[in-house]
Symmetry: C2
Subunit: 304 residues, 2 copies
């Protein structure tokens, strides 16, 4: 930590601000995605236009007693969240989760978390989104930002794009928009966070990246106001760039072969999320909501 | 270990015997599965009979230089194996791997392996099989037996059944056949190894078992000859019971709903293998062949 611990009032106020932002961002993203469902005109050779425009369904969840485990060294989680899921004609399956949870990490897990080794108490809130698209011409995407409080407090998150086939223009547009968000907050942010993303979203057992990257940051605790402002701008960058990419490609025709390739790429996405993803592990290790955590799984995947 | 370490000659001869057995078992299983493909008469309402009877394709792989990592604490693996895969009209995707590998465990991983903490050198051979079936009326299955040599030496393995919907008769037949194999070798084997299987093939994040169990054993080092004989009988039990269950159900009709349910069950199979399975982790951690290890993935799975 670069600054002294804030007073309890301030900490509580900050938690509330962060949580409110994640919820507002969720609302804005869901609205933008539903507009894309409305704007969809169909794809030549496909029957998707026969489906009604998709709408998000929200399912709140909460943990009280059942979050407590009998094991005193095990995780103990309270709080809750809201899962928003849409199965549409553009978005085959998209999940947007917001949650605010608190409790104690398991003894084992707390050793891995900054500020939790001595005191395993934590509070965490965030937004997490994964979109798997009907069209193999539209890239899949992931975005997540979060605020975590132990005896320390920090922001983390990022976004990364997974095109089914290489598309230089999409990759450039995605990176450019996050560079803009980064550059407004720290001269070295883009370079550092892009590199972190490339290193993180990599499947060592395949020797291949998950997608074309984006940005990834964690343990950001320079200055709370500035870090929060940056985290908000990351959300805004996502909200600006991804719907543009979807709109640009959603009416392009594709072949059965393209769709098969998409299913195989999704298999790699599953491998990454279950073998390597820290967010998935964090959620499952802290006794989080399995349905919400595994909402990132694609609707269908193949290992032919 | 219950007995003194054998001489080098004896150890080498035992490795060769174990490897030869795993290869013979592979040949017998592949032949039995191909006979089922030949015997298939079709299913009412499905077009599977239009496909030709499936045949296994064998792909040998080996590691020499490329198994060595630059990291002196990293894994170092040599040797190789043969992947046998069939995509048929009864077996939608079945993989049978045999391998014999040797080298050194990574520093980190060696701490978890009996007899490897001081000396990370190992030799391992085994057979591993996962079958995902066209029909949701035919259970999926997994079987694996192996012989591992560090400064210690032991056998391990087992088999477990994953019906798509509960079927009491199948479950009974499967358990009865492995009980027979166990009872011939140790009075407490069946009870212990069945329990171990139930505990092992469990998805804690879902609070549900992967299937209906079977047997699972590891670190068996009572007496080499007896342990090897038991391991052979486990293979024979599998070869006897599973083809019978396939033959019994492969001509039964099913609905689109049954098939959807099968896809969701397969998603759970993926979750277990990537989140929890020790064999998958062992393979990926020792620098094994990713294609061979992930042959256990189903041809298609859904998370609707």
């Amino acid at each position: 930590m670069t600054s002294a611990a804030p007073s309890l009032d301030v900490t509580e106020d900050r938690k509330a601000q962060a949580k409110a932002w994640f919820e507002k961002l969720r609302d804005d993203i869901c609205a933008a995605f539903e507009r894309l469902e409305d704007d969809f005109q169909g794809v030549e050779g496909q029957t998707l236009h026969e489906l009604p425009p998709g709408r998000f369904e929200r399912t709140p969840w909460s943990r009280s007693k059942e979050g407590e485990t009998a094991d005193p060294d095990g995780p103990n989680l309270k709080g809750g969240g809201v899962m928003s899921v849409m199965r549409g004609r553009v978005f085959e399956k998209v999940g947007v989760n917001v949650s605010a949870v608190y409790g104690t990490f398991s003894k084992e897990f707390s050793k891995q978390i900054p500020g939790a080794a001595e005191d395993p108490t934590f509070w965490a809130s965030g937004i997490s989104l994964v979109a798997h698209m009907q069209s193999p011409k539209v890239p899949a995407v992931h975005m997540n930002t979060r605020h975590i409080v132990t005896t320390k407090a920090w922001f983390g998150g990022g976004a990364d794009l997974t095109p089914m086939k290489p598309n230089e223009a999409d990759t450039k547009a995605f990176h450019a928009r996050f560079k803009e968000a980064c550059d407004a907050h720290g001269a070295d942010y883009y370079e550092r966070f892009k590199k972190w993303c490339d290193e993180y979203f990599f499947l060592p057992h395949r020797g291949e990246p998950r997608g074309v990257g984006g940005i990834f940051y964690d343990y950001l605790d320079q200055d709370w106001e500035a870090d929060f402002a940056f985290t908000q701008d990351v959300g805004r960058a996502f909200l600006d760039v991804y719907p543009r990419l979807v709109a640009e490609h959603m009416h392009e025709p594709w072949t059965a072969e393209d769709r098969e390739h998409q299913m195989v790429r999704r298999g790699r996405y599953v491998e990454f999320n279950l073998l390597h993803d820290r967010g998935t592990k964090f959620g499952l290790m802290t006794g989080g909501n399995t349905e919400a955590i595994l909402m990132s799984m694609p609707p269908m995947a193949k290992w032919p």
